[in-house]
Symmetry: C2
Subunit: 477 residues, 2 copies
């Protein structure tokens, strides 16, 4: 009964993808709603995924010479206004603090939507000489953007992220760091989240407010929509000039620094759900699964069953994240719940298994069942988790390829997007008017100018003038 | 020259303790100032300490069954007002958001000063049955309190902390959790920060807004002032009644839950500075030192010196946090800097050491120098770091004892506080009027009613009426 209820409660992906997403997020207990509109509670099952992401990403940051810091959450209005494009981009969507205690503030403060201006204000005093460079700082924090429509993980008024902010002596070094961090992001998403990424540059229309160039990694969700998953910006010396961040170089002249920033957010959890999930719920790549192995005792009241389950847990937990579900629910209910929560491996152990000295392993991703002698469990589990991780990436990569199309003419382009979604590779003249026209007509945006360019056609897919670049187009979250 | 400048810049503790603190915080590059009044930048050297605290405290939390979550940073005004004492305690010192984007908000939001109200609002829906209990949740985040006077780490308008919030089926379970977490805090401070704590209960005057009982750990700083270092609150069912948090118990009746909360903050870094620091700067306990061993090459341009320094680093870095200072500064300057930053062990290696196959180890805490054969370096370093950690605690404990006094009469009490500061154990009648009088006359507050009670006298140190409890009194940060 409970089992049936749990399964019934999920809409199928085919029927209504948006509703499926909401159901999974709720039934897998990743988030809760609050009385603060547009803000969510990240519950233990969701936050544990974020902790695993954070831990592994931070490890890669440190290996890349990044140092963590913490800057204030408030930005005085005058500071936000120092860089023209930046304030225009963010001012319409920030939250304003106007009172501290019982007193009105002399100058209102916005809650950081991003911290370029604060880092600039800090670097202005902290950087004096070439010896102080480079600065490669990052912070883990939350930011606020007053979005009108919100969805858990994908778009909320407050979200968790990391934001790296660097300062360099030369333009080349800043550009190198921008690309280094984009590559680090893409590599992390492939290796840890099992999500293949398209790497490329944003068009001027889509770039970050205040950036010279914005680079992005874009992923394809199960419904064919694109998700911008991380960005890395090269600011040139624009912010440095606006804030007066200068250093005495080796030749004893004062020069402006060159800056970058880069960020990834809890949106990554949304990507994991929409790339790997299925009609039974979440499917987690082993590297970010808070529980990698869930042991479910069958007929747990029979002698020796629970004891064996605990013994297996004790054996496994040195190398894996393990849980025994010894609750008083039925095994069927427990299976459904383990599937809903996306735990990569389920181990079933009952009286018959005990007798035969084996257990049954069930993979969450393929639902394949394997009988394993108990003495081989550690080795088999380790091997399977590796296999699951790499096959999840392979399947996601195959789906990305299947859903990436080429359009040589506007007719082809329109036909693909009228029949469905996906990435469409098509040539572009470089003119914003064509981007605007395509968005207007098809609700499709340029996702990026990929690093891997192909010469698909000679003319722009929209206006027919000579083509400059191949662009990935898609409908985006 | 540079060396001299660095040393000169620190005021001695004796001369001016407050200025000494400010100098250390700045010269050890723990924090930076910002244009946001009362908010600080936590720089890499400071944040790395916080990360080590966070990591080791979180490990202990997880072993104690705590799960991490994340709740919004905003609290609607109506939510804050639901518990009467709580709103009175916090409303005067919160920051108010009144506009989101370009629109005024229908209801203003405060930036969380603490999250009891949000957790209650969440638990109200999340808890239905005894099966949902207990909830033992924690979050790592920043909070905002609009303080008038601020000092880095000790009191700032925004600070980092963890806040645990639990819900239980019975009053006893809530009380047990309150004490369990206080003990965990005290143990953490002793074992990791090498700071001995006095554990006890706050008087009603000093307890948390909305709590039935507040427990505290109190430490003694080098200047004889007390620092409240962590608190744990038992709320009874007060918040549950105000917010309507009920569960169906096993007997099928609806009951209110019992709640607790507990927190520690970046203030702990202030405690570390003021308990262990000296006139050369910071002294870090090895367990929270971002660099445990700093290798300083002497005459580093001589053949083989730098190579040997790197070789030692490569050998040591599997087990320790190690750094080679290969900058172009003089060894003397490097020594001063390593001392200022509080790194526990300095390893000196020069051409003569190379020849003799040894190096010189210098302890930061005692400044003792030891010659060590290179092949014994790992073992000796491990042993020394353990010794430093435990001796720092011993010395801090001895200082705490030396500066803890007994006062049997008001004359004794007054005399101690007129001559200096420290903890004073004295009896109290239980009446708030005596606390008020003592604060008024001597700027001294009750720090706690310690768990370890002694019967020092029969009468209250202030009014002479029969004594109820022994209290620790002190001047506090």
């Amino acid at each position: 009964m409970a089992e049936k209820k749990m399964v019934e409660a999920i809409t199928s992906m085919e029927e209504d993808f948006a509703q499926w997403y909401t159901d999974v997020v709720k039934k897998a207990e990743l988030v809760g709603y609050t009385s603060v509109k547009g803000c969510m509670v990240i519950k233990p099952a969701g936050y544990a995924i974020w902790e695993l992401i954070q831990h592994q990403l931070d490890e890669r940051f440190k290996a890349a010479g990044v140092e963590n810091v913490y800057l204030p959450m408030f930005i005085p209005e005058s500071l936000l206004q120092k860089e023209k494009d930046h304030v225009e981009g963010f001012a319409p969507e920030v939250a304003w603090v106007t009172h501290g205690g019982l007193q009105p503030l002399q100058e209102r403060l916005c809650v950081r939507p991003t911290s370029e201006t604060l880092f600039c204000d800090f670097y202005k005093d902290d950087i004096q000489s070439y010896r102080d460079l480079p600065k490669v700082y990052n912070q883990w924090c939350s930011v606020v953007r007053w979005e009108k429509e919100t969805r858990p993980f994908l778009r909320s008024r407050e979200f968790l992220w990391q934001e790296g902010h660097t300062a360099h002596a030369t333009a080349q070094e800043a550009q190198d760091r921008t690309i280094q961090m984009l590559n680090l992001y893409a590599d992390f998403c492939e290796q840890v989240l099992a999500i293949p990424m398209i790497k490329g540059q944003k068009t001027d229309k889509e770039k970050f407010a205040g950036a010279v160039a914005t680079y992005t990694i874009e992923a394809l969700m199960h419904d064919g929509k694109a998700l911008q998953s991380g960005t890395s910006h090269n600011f040139g010396d624009g912010f440095a000039r606006a804030f007066g961040i200068q250093f005495a170089d080796r030749d004893n002249t004062l020069k402006y620094v060159y800056q970058t920033s880069w960020g990834m957010t809890t949106r990554l959890i949304g990507a994991v759900i929409m790339v790997h999930g299925d009609d039974e719920g979440l499917v987690l790549p082993p590297r970010i699964a808070p529980v990698q192995i869930c042991i479910i005792p069958i007929q747990q009241k029979k002698e020796g069953v629970l004891e064996k389950a605990y013994e297996l847990r004790d054996r496994l937990q040195n190398n894996f994240r393990v849980k025994v579900d010894d609750s008083d629910k039925t095994p069927g209910w427990k299976f459904s719940e383990a599937e809903m929560r996306g735990w990569p491996i389920r181990v079933e152990i009952g009286p018959k298994d005990l007798e035969a000295g084996r257990c049954v392993i069930c993979r969450r991703d393929t639902r394949e069942k394997i009988e394993v002698p108990l003495e081989q469990l550690e080795g088999k589990a380790a091997e399977l988790l590796e296999t699951i991780q790499s096959q999840m990436l392979e399947r996601a990569r195959a789906r990305l390829e299947e859903n990436t199309f080429c359009a040589r003419s506007y007719e082809e382009f329109e036909k693909i997007f009228s029949q469905g979604s996906g990435f469409v590779k098509a040539m572009w003249c470089g003119d914003r008017a064509c981007e605007d026209a395509i968005k207007e007509k098809l609700s499709v945006t340029s996702r990026c100018i990929p690093f891997c360019q192909e010469r698909i056609a000679d003319t722009c897919v929209c206006c027919g003038r000579p083509a400059q670049k191949m662009v990935y187009w898609g409908r985006a979250y």
